[in-house]
Subunit: 372 residues, 2 copies
């Protein structure tokens, strides 16, 4: 969907016009009360469910679809690709209308709140005044939380999975190392590598390898890879000795083939900047005092990127505001990545929650007044 009205951004810059790519699943009901917006995390896209003819599956296909926890037989689900991405919505590799050349380094820094503003316009255009739920994991969870703050009346439920209301110093540190790997790659050319016919693959590869470590738990890595050797003995060189090296390098190589370096920079900045309590002197209770949604939060015990403590902080602040909160802490070994994996307890929590959301719609407890 093309938007010709300029979008003012938190930085003070604006996008003169922009396109958002989105996918929908299921059918919007007559009173438009069954829409669920699914927000994506770092390297994902609008393709949240189903399979393309090419065989590419949606990134949350285990969660979303007919008969799945977020059941597209009952809900109208929207996956939207964020501004700055490299998967279709307006981003650094697209032409800057002011110059006719790719934005590159001139694409403005966008924030979680900017994304929510752009998504709100999409909702307007689709005739959705109020979402049954806005949902996301990790950076996607930040967007759901921001929706509940910026547009309290526009969502009845807010589903925040494996997320946080702000990054820790350690999180920011990892992001900055990744960015420095990209920014100092000679092929980065100050962000204008498109014009040079190259991409900063080495930097992007290192960034991804590092990121990947933080998505997995120490224990999970120990179980999956341990100290297993690729060829049974030490090579006494700097090639691949350990299986974990082989795995990470493969992940890094693959990522550097399809992901855009400017997008990586932008998305990690959006992560770092997200801190809605900043305007409220760091008081998360005050920050969430205007929210009206009900909340589901889920965290995973071995997630050291966005640890359960971060969810506890949000739950406490919501309880302080007497919001209705459901919180599940799943004892899963898979670290941050657990939010994308098939854990039956996790899936059942989400399934049960959305069954309740659907009852409100179907059972008639949802009156026009309740949604105002």
């Amino acid at each position: 969907m093309f938007f010709s009205t300029p979008l003012p951004l938190q930085s003070g810059a604006e996008l003169t016009d922009y396109t958002l790519v989105y996918e929908t699943y299921g059918t919007l009901n007559a009173d438009h009360s069954n829409a669920v917006l699914v927000c994506h995390a770092l390297n994902a896209s609008h393709h949240v469910a189903g399979s393309y003819e090419s065989g590419v599956k949606g990134w949350w296909d285990n969660m979303i679809g007919p008969g799945k926890p977020l059941d597209t037989d009952k809900f109208f689900v929207i996956g939207v690709n964020n501004l700055g991405s490299c998967f279709g919505s307006t981003g650094p590799m697209h032409a800057n209308p002011a110059t006719g050349k790719p934005y590159g380094a001139n694409f403005p820094v966008v924030t979680v709140e900017d994304w929510v503003q752009s998504q709100a316009r999409l909702a307007d255009a689709l005739g959705i005044q109020q979402f049954a739920a806005v949902m996301g994991g990790s950076l996607g969870g930040m967007q759901a939380l921001a929706w509940s703050i910026l547009y309290p009346q526009r969502l009845r439920h807010c589903v925040v999975i494996a997320s946080t209301s702000k990054l820790t110093a350690q999180n920011i540190a990892f992001d900055d190392v990744a960015r420095q790997a990209i920014l100092t790659d000679p092929d980065f050319h100050g962000g204008d590598y498109y014009a040079h016919g190259v991409v900063p693959k080495n930097g992007l590869r290192v960034a991804r390898m590092l990121g990947h470590i933080t998505y997995l738990s120490d224990d999970d890595m120990a179980v999956k890879f341990g100290r297993d050797l690729r060829s049974g003995s030490y090579q006494f060189g700097f090639g691949i000795d350990f299986e974990i090296e082989s795995y990470l390098r493969y992940q890094g190589d693959k990522f550097s083939e399809y992901f855009d370096a400017n997008t990586y920079l932008l998305i990690t900045k959006a992560l770092d900047y997200f801190d809605p309590a900043k305007e409220f002197g760091g008081d998360l209770t005050k920050t969430l005092s205007n929210t009206r949604a009900q909340f589901l939060l889920v965290s995973f015990t071995t997630d050291w990127r966005f640890a359960p403590e971060r969810s506890h902080e949000m739950v406490q602040a919501l309880v302080n505001n007497k919001r209705t909160v459901t919180y599940a802490e799943i004892d899963a070994p898979h670290g941050h990545d657990a939010f994308l994996l098939d854990d039956q307890r996790y899936m059942n929590v989400v399934r049960s929650y959305f069954a309740r959301v659907h009852e409100e719609i179907d059972g008639g407890s949802l009156k026009a007044g309740a949604r105002a």
Copy 2:
């Protein structure tokens, strides 16, 4: 000290000749029973204590010196720089006798055990048949442990601080990301950057930034830096926003000015390869069954690089062998770096331990027979 006898290495390669740079503190007593060997970790050297005229302090100057926990009024302390280092002992930037040109990428991969062999020759040359103690933190602790396995009769005490008997998959993963940052830096030139008049600064900088994150605890970073901004507000660019970014980039820049990239590669490989139980089917108890030393192990609660669990494993294996083990787990907030810092409980543990070691020497309980 120059050694003209070739040193066979675990890899099968050998060093035709080599130099070890070392420093000593205190006085070797008449029966040569008060010598303590101090082994260094990643970016340290033989300069363990005291100050040069330039003002450069030894890296463990808070621990070692007159009246300090390891008291150089009582002990003869030796700091030795490891092979492959960039601080004086034979390393990649030195001339390969076979070619007359710097070793560069041709410097052989050396292991913890290789270092111990080279150190044993130094001990021979200094007339030290048996150390009162061999001591080290982190990678230095691995060397102390290897001494106790390879030369059980040559040390009476083994002091292993903030260390492990083997790296986890996560440890190896971080090391490999650091190495990949260096290896893929175009200025690395396959390790022969000396000939090109450049150094792979960008790669080394990223490696150090990443390493630094793993030396600190999440909590400690939160306390020291939190989300503090350098200039009070977001800059909406990719310069420095947060204090933690400023700190890490500064550390990375400084490191890339003085440290050698080939040395970084070699030392991380030595870390990754260390796994003395490998030959014993992973059975650490069997591995340590020939040790004869008494042991002091220390770990720090917030050290997630070499967590207390790694020390527990070593303590258990030593107890299984009925070795005399003292173990202290210090509740310190500073992560892995704690082993270099002034925590009074930690310092007192080491002080008390060495007081006991000295009593054995001074009190005459140390008989020639007991040392054979």
